[in-house]
Amino acid sequence: MLRDITLGQYYPVDSVLHRMDPRTKLFGTMAYIVSLFIADHLLAYVAATIFLVIAIRMSKVPVKFMVRGLKSVVVLLLISVSFNLFLTPGTPIFKIGFIQMTWEGVEFAAFMAIRLIYLVLGSTILTLTTTPNQLTDGLEKSLGFLGKVGVPVHEVSMMMSIALRFIPILIEETDKIMKAQMARGADFESGNLIQKAKAMVPLLVPLFISAFRRATDLAMAMEARCYRGGDGRTKMKPLRYEARDRMAYAFYLGYFVVIIAIKVLL
Protein backbone atom coordinates (compact mmCIF):
# COMPACT_ATOMS: atom_id res chain seq x y z
CA MET A 1 0.00 0.00 0.00
CA LEU A 2 2.87 2.32 0.81
CA ARG A 3 4.21 2.17 -2.70
CA ASP A 4 1.07 3.71 -4.13
CA ILE A 5 2.03 7.11 -2.80
CA THR A 6 2.91 9.34 -5.71
CA LEU A 7 5.30 12.18 -5.30
CA GLY A 8 4.14 15.71 -5.77
CA GLN A 9 0.74 15.94 -7.31
CA TYR A 10 1.54 16.09 -10.99
CA TYR A 11 -1.56 15.69 -13.13
CA PRO A 12 -0.50 14.14 -16.45
CA VAL A 13 -2.41 15.70 -19.33
CA ASP A 14 -1.09 17.46 -22.40
CA SER A 15 -1.72 21.20 -22.19
CA VAL A 16 0.04 24.43 -23.06
CA LEU A 17 0.89 24.89 -19.40
CA HIS A 18 2.30 21.38 -19.13
CA ARG A 19 4.56 22.00 -22.09
CA MET A 20 5.68 25.41 -20.90
CA ASP A 21 9.26 25.84 -19.68
CA PRO A 22 9.39 25.26 -15.89
CA ARG A 23 11.26 28.56 -15.48
CA THR A 24 8.36 30.44 -17.04
CA LYS A 25 5.94 28.78 -14.67
CA LEU A 26 8.17 29.32 -11.62
CA PHE A 27 8.55 32.99 -12.47
CA GLY A 28 4.83 33.36 -13.16
CA THR A 29 3.90 31.79 -9.83
CA MET A 30 6.31 34.05 -8.01
CA ALA A 31 5.07 37.17 -9.81
CA TYR A 32 1.49 36.18 -9.08
CA ILE A 33 2.16 35.75 -5.35
CA VAL A 34 3.88 39.14 -5.22
CA SER A 35 0.95 40.73 -7.04
CA LEU A 36 -1.45 39.34 -4.45
CA PHE A 37 0.43 41.16 -1.74
CA ILE A 38 0.51 44.42 -3.67
CA ALA A 39 -3.22 44.27 -4.43
CA ASP A 40 -5.48 46.17 -2.07
CA HIS A 41 -8.25 47.40 -4.35
CA LEU A 42 -11.28 45.49 -5.55
CA LEU A 43 -10.23 45.98 -9.19
CA ALA A 44 -6.83 44.44 -8.49
CA TYR A 45 -8.58 41.37 -7.16
CA VAL A 46 -10.69 41.24 -10.30
CA ALA A 47 -7.46 41.23 -12.33
CA ALA A 48 -6.00 38.49 -10.11
CA THR A 49 -9.15 36.41 -10.57
CA ILE A 50 -8.94 36.73 -14.35
CA PHE A 51 -5.27 35.66 -14.26
CA LEU A 52 -6.17 32.61 -12.19
CA VAL A 53 -9.15 31.59 -14.33
CA ILE A 54 -7.06 31.82 -17.50
CA ALA A 55 -4.30 29.70 -15.93
CA ILE A 56 -6.76 27.06 -14.71
CA ARG A 57 -8.47 26.85 -18.10
CA MET A 58 -5.15 26.54 -19.90
CA SER A 59 -3.89 23.79 -17.58
CA LYS A 60 -6.76 21.43 -18.50
CA VAL A 61 -6.71 20.12 -14.93
CA PRO A 62 -10.21 19.53 -13.47
CA VAL A 63 -11.13 22.20 -10.94
CA LYS A 64 -11.80 19.63 -8.22
CA PHE A 65 -8.09 18.73 -8.21
CA MET A 66 -7.25 22.37 -7.61
CA VAL A 67 -9.72 22.67 -4.77
CA ARG A 68 -8.26 19.59 -3.10
CA GLY A 69 -5.11 21.60 -2.46
CA LEU A 70 -7.16 24.05 -0.39
CA LYS A 71 -8.04 21.45 2.26
CA SER A 72 -4.60 21.77 3.79
CA VAL A 73 -5.09 25.48 4.56
CA VAL A 74 -8.67 25.46 5.86
CA VAL A 75 -7.60 25.79 9.49
CA LEU A 76 -5.15 28.58 8.73
CA LEU A 77 -7.84 30.28 6.70
CA LEU A 78 -10.41 30.12 9.52
CA ILE A 79 -7.97 31.45 12.10
CA SER A 80 -6.80 34.39 10.01
CA VAL A 81 -10.34 35.27 8.95
CA SER A 82 -11.66 35.30 12.52
CA PHE A 83 -8.72 37.34 13.80
CA ASN A 84 -9.28 39.94 11.11
CA LEU A 85 -13.01 39.85 11.58
CA PHE A 86 -13.03 40.49 15.31
CA LEU A 87 -9.82 42.33 16.07
CA THR A 88 -9.82 45.08 13.44
CA PRO A 89 -10.71 48.46 14.99
CA GLY A 90 -13.28 50.66 13.18
CA THR A 91 -17.03 51.18 12.83
CA PRO A 92 -18.70 48.41 14.81
CA ILE A 93 -21.49 46.28 13.31
CA PHE A 94 -22.36 44.65 16.62
CA LYS A 95 -20.79 44.15 19.99
CA ILE A 96 -21.12 41.32 22.53
CA GLY A 97 -19.12 41.99 25.68
CA PHE A 98 -15.58 42.75 24.57
CA ILE A 99 -16.00 41.05 21.18
CA GLN A 100 -16.92 43.39 18.37
CA MET A 101 -17.18 43.03 14.62
CA THR A 102 -16.40 46.01 12.40
CA TRP A 103 -17.06 46.89 8.78
CA GLU A 104 -13.34 47.32 8.26
CA GLY A 105 -12.86 43.86 9.76
CA VAL A 106 -15.25 42.28 7.27
CA GLU A 107 -13.51 43.92 4.35
CA PHE A 108 -10.08 42.98 5.66
CA ALA A 109 -11.07 39.37 6.37
CA ALA A 110 -12.58 38.94 2.91
CA PHE A 111 -9.45 40.22 1.16
CA MET A 112 -7.28 38.09 3.42
CA ALA A 113 -9.26 34.97 2.59
CA ILE A 114 -9.13 35.66 -1.14
CA ARG A 115 -5.40 36.32 -0.97
CA LEU A 116 -4.73 33.04 0.81
CA ILE A 117 -6.98 30.98 -1.46
CA TYR A 118 -5.48 32.48 -4.63
CA LEU A 119 -1.99 31.97 -3.31
CA VAL A 120 -2.61 28.27 -2.73
CA LEU A 121 -4.41 27.81 -6.05
CA GLY A 122 -1.61 29.61 -7.89
CA SER A 123 1.11 27.35 -6.52
CA THR A 124 -1.09 24.26 -6.94
CA ILE A 125 -1.29 24.96 -10.67
CA LEU A 126 2.52 24.97 -10.76
CA THR A 127 2.85 21.56 -9.09
CA LEU A 128 -0.03 20.03 -11.03
CA THR A 129 1.48 20.92 -14.40
CA THR A 130 5.21 20.39 -13.68
CA THR A 131 6.96 17.13 -12.80
CA PRO A 132 9.28 17.28 -9.79
CA ASN A 133 12.15 16.70 -12.22
CA GLN A 134 11.26 19.65 -14.40
CA LEU A 135 10.92 21.75 -11.27
CA THR A 136 14.42 20.82 -10.14
CA ASP A 137 15.76 21.53 -13.63
CA GLY A 138 13.98 24.87 -13.71
CA LEU A 139 15.29 25.83 -10.29
CA GLU A 140 18.83 24.83 -11.21
CA LYS A 141 18.79 26.91 -14.36
CA SER A 142 17.05 29.98 -12.96
CA LEU A 143 19.12 30.03 -9.77
CA GLY A 144 22.32 29.40 -11.73
CA PHE A 145 23.55 32.92 -10.98
CA LEU A 146 23.80 31.97 -7.29
CA GLY A 147 26.56 29.57 -8.29
CA LYS A 148 28.79 32.60 -8.88
CA VAL A 149 28.60 33.53 -5.21
CA GLY A 150 29.41 30.01 -4.05
CA VAL A 151 25.97 28.44 -3.66
CA PRO A 152 26.24 24.82 -4.90
CA VAL A 153 23.16 25.08 -7.16
CA HIS A 154 23.97 22.11 -9.38
CA GLU A 155 24.79 19.87 -6.43
CA VAL A 156 21.60 20.74 -4.57
CA SER A 157 19.51 20.08 -7.64
CA MET A 158 21.31 16.77 -8.25
CA MET A 159 20.60 15.82 -4.65
CA MET A 160 16.92 16.64 -5.04
CA SER A 161 16.61 14.58 -8.19
CA ILE A 162 18.41 11.60 -6.60
CA ALA A 163 16.14 11.90 -3.57
CA LEU A 164 13.16 11.76 -5.92
CA ARG A 165 14.50 8.57 -7.44
CA PHE A 166 15.21 6.87 -4.11
CA ILE A 167 12.17 7.85 -2.04
CA PRO A 168 9.92 5.22 -3.67
CA ILE A 169 12.67 2.60 -3.27
CA LEU A 170 13.13 3.41 0.40
CA ILE A 171 9.38 3.45 0.99
CA GLU A 172 9.14 -0.01 -0.53
CA GLU A 173 12.03 -1.14 1.61
CA THR A 174 10.38 0.24 4.77
CA ASP A 175 7.29 -1.71 3.83
CA LYS A 176 9.34 -4.90 3.47
CA ILE A 177 11.24 -4.47 6.74
CA MET A 178 7.98 -3.68 8.55
CA LYS A 179 6.39 -6.87 7.27
CA ALA A 180 9.49 -8.88 8.16
CA GLN A 181 9.48 -7.46 11.70
CA MET A 182 5.73 -8.02 12.07
CA ALA A 183 6.17 -11.63 11.01
CA ARG A 184 8.56 -11.90 13.94
CA GLY A 185 5.99 -10.45 16.32
CA ALA A 186 6.87 -6.75 16.23
CA ASP A 187 3.94 -4.47 17.01
CA PHE A 188 3.89 -1.04 15.38
CA GLU A 189 0.29 -0.11 16.15
CA SER A 190 -0.64 -0.46 19.81
CA GLY A 191 0.70 1.28 22.92
CA ASN A 192 1.24 4.92 23.80
CA LEU A 193 3.42 7.35 21.90
CA ILE A 194 6.65 6.36 23.63
CA GLN A 195 6.03 2.65 23.06
CA LYS A 196 5.27 3.33 19.42
CA ALA A 197 8.45 5.36 19.03
CA LYS A 198 10.42 2.53 20.60
CA ALA A 199 8.85 0.05 18.20
CA MET A 200 10.24 2.11 15.32
CA VAL A 201 13.87 1.53 16.32
CA PRO A 202 14.14 -1.98 14.83
CA LEU A 203 12.66 -0.48 11.68
CA LEU A 204 14.90 2.56 11.40
CA VAL A 205 18.22 0.87 12.10
CA PRO A 206 18.14 -1.54 9.13
CA LEU A 207 16.65 1.19 6.96
CA PHE A 208 19.49 3.59 7.73
CA ILE A 209 22.17 0.96 7.20
CA SER A 210 20.69 0.07 3.85
CA ALA A 211 20.34 3.73 2.84
CA PHE A 212 24.03 4.34 3.57
CA ARG A 213 25.01 1.27 1.58
CA ARG A 214 22.93 2.48 -1.34
CA ALA A 215 24.52 5.92 -1.11
CA THR A 216 28.04 4.44 -1.28
CA ASP A 217 27.11 2.23 -4.22
CA LEU A 218 25.47 5.08 -6.06
CA ALA A 219 28.42 7.41 -5.56
CA MET A 220 30.67 4.73 -7.03
CA ALA A 221 28.35 4.13 -9.98
CA MET A 222 28.20 7.87 -10.69
CA GLU A 223 31.98 8.16 -10.60
CA ALA A 224 32.33 5.16 -12.90
CA ARG A 225 30.13 7.03 -15.36
CA CYS A 226 32.45 10.04 -15.26
CA TYR A 227 30.34 12.25 -13.01
CA ARG A 228 32.47 15.13 -11.70
CA GLY A 229 30.05 17.86 -10.74
CA GLY A 230 28.31 20.43 -12.89
CA ASP A 231 31.36 21.86 -14.71
CA GLY A 232 31.64 20.93 -18.36
CA ARG A 233 28.41 18.98 -18.25
CA THR A 234 26.03 19.10 -21.20
CA LYS A 235 22.30 18.47 -21.05
CA MET A 236 20.27 15.83 -22.83
CA LYS A 237 17.14 17.91 -22.36
CA PRO A 238 18.27 21.54 -22.17
CA LEU A 239 15.66 24.10 -21.18
CA ARG A 240 14.79 26.36 -24.09
CA TYR A 241 12.27 29.18 -24.28
CA GLU A 242 9.67 28.79 -27.04
CA ALA A 243 7.15 31.21 -28.48
CA ARG A 244 4.61 30.20 -25.82
CA ASP A 245 7.06 31.18 -23.08
CA ARG A 246 7.65 34.60 -24.62
CA MET A 247 3.90 35.07 -24.82
CA ALA A 248 3.55 34.08 -21.18
CA TYR A 249 6.16 36.65 -20.14
CA ALA A 250 4.37 39.33 -22.18
CA PHE A 251 1.17 38.36 -20.38
CA TYR A 252 2.87 38.62 -16.97
CA LEU A 253 4.14 42.06 -17.91
CA GLY A 254 0.67 43.24 -18.96
CA TYR A 255 -0.82 41.84 -15.76
CA PHE A 256 1.76 43.57 -13.63
CA VAL A 257 1.26 46.91 -15.37
CA VAL A 258 -2.46 46.64 -14.57
CA ILE A 259 -1.82 45.75 -10.91
CA ILE A 260 0.64 48.64 -10.45
CA ALA A 261 -1.62 51.08 -12.30
CA ILE A 262 -4.52 50.20 -10.00
CA LYS A 263 -2.28 50.59 -6.98
CA VAL A 264 -0.92 54.00 -8.05
CA LEU A 265 -4.00 55.54 -9.66
CA LEU A 266 -6.85 54.34 -7.45
Binding site: P168, L218, M220, A224, R225, C226, Y227, R233
Partner: protein, 288 residues
Protein backbone atom coordinates in the same frame (compact mmCIF):
# COMPACT_ATOMS: atom_id res chain seq x y z
CA UNK B 1 49.24 -6.03 -26.37
CA UNK B 2 45.76 -6.31 -24.95
CA UNK B 3 43.21 -3.62 -24.23
CA UNK B 4 43.35 -4.42 -20.51
CA UNK B 5 46.73 -5.11 -18.99
CA UNK B 6 47.22 -5.68 -15.30
CA UNK B 7 50.84 -5.99 -14.23
CA UNK B 8 51.70 -7.42 -10.83
CA UNK B 9 48.71 -5.88 -9.11
CA UNK B 10 48.77 -5.67 -5.36
CA UNK B 11 45.97 -4.12 -3.38
CA UNK B 12 45.69 -3.77 0.39
CA UNK B 13 42.66 -2.47 2.27
CA UNK B 14 43.95 -0.61 5.27
CA UNK B 15 41.57 0.07 8.10
CA UNK B 16 42.64 2.05 11.11
CA UNK B 17 41.61 0.53 14.42
CA UNK B 18 41.25 3.47 16.83
CA UNK B 19 40.99 1.40 20.01
CA UNK B 20 44.25 -0.45 19.58
CA UNK B 21 45.73 2.37 17.49
CA UNK B 22 47.09 0.15 14.77
CA UNK B 23 46.32 -0.49 11.13
CA UNK B 24 44.49 -3.59 10.10
CA UNK B 25 45.73 -4.65 6.68
CA UNK B 26 43.71 -6.86 4.38
CA UNK B 27 45.65 -8.15 1.38
CA UNK B 28 42.87 -8.32 -1.19
CA UNK B 29 45.13 -8.81 -4.23
CA UNK B 30 48.57 -10.42 -4.04
CA UNK B 31 50.23 -9.99 -7.40
CA UNK B 32 47.72 -10.37 -10.22
CA UNK B 33 48.83 -10.14 -13.85
CA UNK B 34 46.40 -10.44 -16.69
CA UNK B 35 46.42 -9.45 -20.35
CA UNK B 36 43.09 -9.28 -22.12
CA UNK B 37 42.82 -9.20 -25.86
CA UNK B 38 40.50 -6.67 -27.50
CA UNK B 39 37.16 -8.16 -28.53
CA UNK B 40 37.36 -11.21 -26.29
CA UNK B 41 34.86 -12.43 -23.71
CA UNK B 42 36.65 -13.23 -20.46
CA UNK B 43 34.95 -14.64 -17.37
CA UNK B 44 36.37 -14.37 -13.87
CA UNK B 45 35.37 -16.98 -11.29
CA UNK B 46 36.13 -17.17 -7.61
CA UNK B 47 34.29 -17.67 -4.34
CA UNK B 48 33.36 -14.80 -2.02
CA UNK B 49 36.27 -12.71 -0.83
CA UNK B 50 38.70 -13.93 -3.48
CA UNK B 51 39.28 -10.36 -4.67
CA UNK B 52 37.11 -10.21 -7.81
CA UNK B 53 35.34 -6.95 -6.99
CA UNK B 54 38.57 -5.33 -5.92
CA UNK B 55 40.11 -6.34 -9.23
CA UNK B 56 37.11 -4.94 -11.12
CA UNK B 57 37.31 -1.59 -9.32
CA UNK B 58 40.97 -1.30 -10.22
CA UNK B 59 40.07 -1.56 -13.91
CA UNK B 60 38.64 1.95 -14.19
CA UNK B 61 40.37 3.84 -11.47
CA UNK B 62 37.69 3.60 -8.77
CA UNK B 63 40.51 2.09 -6.73
CA UNK B 64 44.18 2.70 -7.45
CA UNK B 65 46.69 -0.13 -6.98
CA UNK B 66 48.85 -0.28 -3.86
CA UNK B 67 51.54 -1.62 -6.16
CA UNK B 68 51.68 -2.62 -9.81
CA UNK B 69 49.96 -1.00 -12.78
CA UNK B 70 46.76 -1.25 -14.79
CA UNK B 71 46.83 -0.17 -18.43
CA UNK B 72 43.56 0.42 -20.25
CA UNK B 73 44.35 0.72 -23.95
CA UNK B 74 47.85 1.77 -22.90
CA UNK B 75 46.74 4.46 -20.46
CA UNK B 76 47.75 4.05 -16.84
CA UNK B 77 44.71 4.23 -14.55
CA UNK B 78 46.85 5.95 -11.94
CA UNK B 79 47.63 8.92 -14.22
CA UNK B 80 45.33 11.72 -13.10
CA UNK B 81 45.11 13.22 -16.60
CA UNK B 82 43.88 9.94 -18.13
CA UNK B 83 41.30 9.13 -15.45
CA UNK B 84 38.21 10.23 -17.42
CA UNK B 85 39.47 8.71 -20.67
CA UNK B 86 40.03 5.44 -18.78
CA UNK B 87 36.50 5.50 -17.36
CA UNK B 88 35.08 6.22 -20.81
CA UNK B 89 37.02 3.31 -22.30
CA UNK B 90 36.24 0.78 -19.58
CA UNK B 91 32.60 0.97 -18.52
CA UNK B 92 31.38 -0.75 -15.41
CA UNK B 93 28.15 -2.51 -14.41
CA UNK B 94 27.57 -3.37 -10.76
CA UNK B 95 25.67 -6.02 -8.89
CA UNK B 96 22.72 -4.12 -7.43
CA UNK B 97 20.46 -2.88 -10.24
CA UNK B 98 18.77 -0.25 -8.06
CA UNK B 99 21.92 1.40 -6.80
CA UNK B 100 23.40 2.31 -10.17
CA UNK B 101 20.48 3.95 -11.93
CA UNK B 102 20.54 7.70 -11.40
CA UNK B 103 17.81 9.04 -13.69
CA UNK B 104 14.11 9.14 -12.91
CA UNK B 105 13.27 8.16 -16.48
CA UNK B 106 14.99 5.33 -18.40
CA UNK B 107 16.21 7.48 -21.30
CA UNK B 108 17.52 10.17 -18.95
CA UNK B 109 19.53 7.59 -17.07
CA UNK B 110 21.11 6.33 -20.28
CA UNK B 111 21.97 9.94 -21.14
CA UNK B 112 23.67 10.53 -17.77
CA UNK B 113 27.14 9.33 -18.83
CA UNK B 114 27.27 11.27 -22.11
CA UNK B 115 26.08 14.40 -20.25
CA UNK B 116 28.98 14.01 -17.82
CA UNK B 117 31.59 13.86 -20.55
CA UNK B 118 30.18 16.90 -22.33
CA UNK B 119 28.67 15.29 -25.44
CA UNK B 120 26.54 17.80 -27.43
CA UNK B 121 22.76 17.44 -27.02
CA UNK B 122 21.91 16.00 -30.44
CA UNK B 123 24.63 13.41 -30.16
CA UNK B 124 23.41 12.42 -26.69
CA UNK B 125 20.02 11.60 -28.22
CA UNK B 126 21.64 9.56 -30.99
CA UNK B 127 23.71 7.61 -28.50
CA UNK B 128 20.74 7.02 -26.19
CA UNK B 129 18.60 5.75 -29.10
CA UNK B 130 21.34 3.43 -30.25
CA UNK B 131 22.19 2.09 -26.79
CA UNK B 132 18.57 1.41 -25.87
CA UNK B 133 18.17 -0.36 -29.19
CA UNK B 134 21.28 -2.46 -28.55
CA UNK B 135 19.95 -3.79 -25.24
CA UNK B 136 16.37 -4.07 -26.49
CA UNK B 137 14.87 -1.53 -24.08
CA UNK B 138 13.59 1.07 -26.56
CA UNK B 139 9.97 0.32 -25.66
CA UNK B 140 10.61 1.31 -22.05
CA UNK B 141 12.46 4.56 -22.67
CA UNK B 142 9.90 6.83 -21.01
CA UNK B 143 9.22 4.58 -18.00
CA UNK B 144 10.37 5.09 -14.46
CA UNK B 145 13.20 2.66 -13.62
CA UNK B 146 11.25 1.66 -10.51
CA UNK B 147 8.65 -0.05 -12.67
CA UNK B 148 11.15 -2.39 -14.40
CA UNK B 149 12.17 -5.95 -13.48
CA UNK B 150 15.68 -6.64 -12.20
CA UNK B 151 16.86 -7.96 -15.57
CA UNK B 152 15.46 -4.92 -17.35
CA UNK B 153 17.15 -2.58 -14.87
CA UNK B 154 20.50 -4.27 -15.55
CA UNK B 155 19.95 -3.87 -19.27
CA UNK B 156 19.31 -0.17 -18.71
CA UNK B 157 22.53 0.01 -16.72
CA UNK B 158 24.35 -1.69 -19.62
CA UNK B 159 22.79 0.80 -22.05
CA UNK B 160 24.00 3.61 -19.78
CA UNK B 161 27.54 2.29 -20.13
CA UNK B 162 27.20 1.70 -23.89
CA UNK B 163 26.14 5.33 -24.39
CA UNK B 164 29.64 6.35 -23.38
CA UNK B 165 31.03 4.33 -26.31
CA UNK B 166 33.38 2.16 -24.26
CA UNK B 167 35.73 -0.39 -25.78
CA UNK B 168 35.31 -2.77 -22.90
CA UNK B 169 32.76 -3.43 -20.19
CA UNK B 170 33.52 -4.85 -16.77
CA UNK B 171 30.49 -6.48 -15.16
CA UNK B 172 30.77 -7.33 -11.46
CA UNK B 173 28.25 -10.11 -10.76
CA UNK B 174 25.51 -8.38 -12.76
CA UNK B 175 23.17 -11.35 -12.36
CA UNK B 176 23.66 -12.13 -8.67
CA UNK B 177 20.40 -10.47 -7.62
CA UNK B 178 18.28 -11.66 -10.55
CA UNK B 179 15.93 -14.58 -11.12
CA UNK B 180 16.83 -17.18 -13.80
CA UNK B 181 14.90 -15.33 -16.50
CA UNK B 182 16.57 -12.03 -15.71
CA UNK B 183 19.95 -13.77 -15.69
CA UNK B 184 19.46 -15.21 -19.16
CA UNK B 185 18.23 -11.86 -20.44
CA UNK B 186 21.31 -10.01 -19.20
CA UNK B 187 23.85 -12.62 -20.32
CA UNK B 188 22.30 -12.79 -23.77
CA UNK B 189 22.53 -9.00 -24.05
CA UNK B 190 26.19 -9.03 -23.03
CA UNK B 191 27.01 -11.82 -25.48
CA UNK B 192 25.36 -9.92 -28.30
CA UNK B 193 27.30 -6.75 -27.52
CA UNK B 194 30.47 -8.79 -27.58
CA UNK B 195 29.71 -10.49 -30.90
CA UNK B 196 27.99 -7.66 -32.78
CA UNK B 197 29.71 -4.54 -31.50
CA UNK B 198 33.05 -6.18 -30.73
CA UNK B 199 33.05 -4.87 -27.15
CA UNK B 200 35.56 -6.58 -24.89
CA UNK B 201 33.73 -8.17 -21.95
CA UNK B 202 35.10 -8.95 -18.51
CA UNK B 203 32.33 -10.84 -16.73
CA UNK B 204 32.65 -11.61 -13.05
CA UNK B 205 30.23 -14.25 -11.87
CA UNK B 206 29.81 -17.40 -9.89
CA UNK B 207 27.19 -18.99 -12.09
CA UNK B 208 28.98 -21.65 -14.12
CA UNK B 209 26.44 -21.69 -16.95
CA UNK B 210 27.34 -18.09 -17.77
CA UNK B 211 30.96 -19.02 -18.25
CA UNK B 212 30.67 -21.90 -20.72
CA UNK B 213 30.51 -19.70 -23.81
CA UNK B 214 33.35 -17.41 -22.77
CA UNK B 215 36.59 -17.30 -24.78
CA UNK B 216 38.61 -17.54 -21.63
CA UNK B 217 38.03 -18.35 -17.96
CA UNK B 218 40.16 -16.99 -15.14
CA UNK B 219 39.82 -18.43 -11.63
CA UNK B 220 40.81 -16.34 -8.64
CA UNK B 221 41.45 -17.51 -5.12
CA UNK B 222 42.77 -15.57 -2.16
CA UNK B 223 43.83 -12.57 -4.23
CA UNK B 224 45.65 -14.53 -6.89
CA UNK B 225 44.96 -16.02 -10.30
CA UNK B 226 45.05 -19.77 -9.88
CA UNK B 227 43.65 -21.05 -13.18
CA UNK B 228 43.50 -19.52 -16.65
CA UNK B 229 42.38 -21.10 -19.91
CA UNK B 230 39.48 -21.95 -22.19
CA UNK B 231 36.31 -23.15 -20.45
CA UNK B 232 37.15 -26.68 -21.59
CA UNK B 233 40.62 -26.58 -20.11
CA UNK B 234 39.48 -25.10 -16.81
CA UNK B 235 36.50 -27.39 -16.35
CA UNK B 236 38.47 -30.49 -17.08
CA UNK B 237 40.20 -29.95 -13.73
CA UNK B 238 37.17 -30.76 -11.60
CA UNK B 239 38.91 -31.70 -8.37
CA UNK B 240 41.11 -28.59 -8.49
CA UNK B 241 38.04 -26.37 -8.96
CA UNK B 242 36.45 -27.98 -5.93
CA UNK B 243 39.51 -27.13 -3.89
CA UNK B 244 38.85 -23.46 -4.70
CA UNK B 245 35.29 -23.96 -3.45
CA UNK B 246 33.77 -23.60 -6.91
CA UNK B 247 31.05 -25.69 -8.45
CA UNK B 248 31.36 -27.11 -11.92
CA UNK B 249 28.43 -27.29 -14.34
CA UNK B 250 26.22 -30.27 -13.51
CA UNK B 251 26.97 -32.05 -16.78
CA UNK B 252 30.68 -31.70 -16.24
CA UNK B 253 30.35 -33.12 -12.75
CA UNK B 254 28.29 -36.08 -14.00
CA UNK B 255 30.79 -36.81 -16.74
CA UNK B 256 33.59 -36.62 -14.22
CA UNK B 257 31.86 -39.11 -11.89
CA UNK B 258 31.19 -41.49 -14.77
CA UNK B 259 34.80 -41.29 -15.80
CA UNK B 260 35.91 -42.02 -12.25
CA UNK B 261 33.64 -45.08 -12.34
CA UNK B 262 35.55 -46.38 -15.33
CA UNK B 263 33.79 -45.02 -18.41
CA UNK B 264 35.90 -43.90 -21.30
CA UNK B 265 35.03 -40.17 -21.37
CA UNK B 266 37.21 -37.15 -22.11
CA UNK B 267 37.74 -34.32 -19.61
CA UNK B 268 35.93 -30.98 -19.84
CA UNK B 269 32.51 -31.91 -21.14
CA UNK B 270 30.44 -28.73 -20.88
CA UNK B 271 27.05 -29.32 -22.48
CA UNK B 272 24.39 -32.00 -22.32
CA UNK B 273 24.60 -32.56 -26.09
CA UNK B 274 28.30 -33.20 -25.86
CA UNK B 275 27.81 -35.77 -23.10
CA UNK B 276 25.01 -37.52 -24.99
CA UNK B 277 27.16 -37.73 -28.13
CA UNK B 278 29.90 -39.42 -26.14
CA UNK B 279 27.68 -41.69 -24.09
CA UNK B 280 25.50 -43.17 -26.87
CA UNK B 281 28.31 -45.08 -28.67
CA UNK B 282 29.67 -46.34 -25.35
CA UNK B 283 26.29 -47.66 -24.23
CA UNK B 284 25.62 -49.21 -27.64
CA UNK B 285 28.93 -51.02 -27.49
CA UNK B 286 28.21 -52.34 -24.02
CA UNK B 287 24.86 -53.71 -25.10
CA UNK B 288 26.32 -55.46 -28.10
Amino acid sequence: MGIIRAVNLIFDYIRHDDEQDKDEINHALRGVSLDIEEGSFVAILGHNGSGKSTFAKLMNGILLPTDGTVYISNMKTSDEEHLWEVRKTAGMVFQNPDNQIIGNVVEEDVGFGPENIGVPTEEIWERVDKSLEAVGMTAYRLQSPNKLSGGQKQRVAIAGVMAMKPRCIVLDEPTAMLDPNGRREVIKTVQELNKQEGITVLLITHYMEEVIEADRVVVMDDGQIVMDGTPKEVFSRVSELKEYRLDVPQVTELADELKAAGMDLPDGILTIDELVDRLVPILKEERA
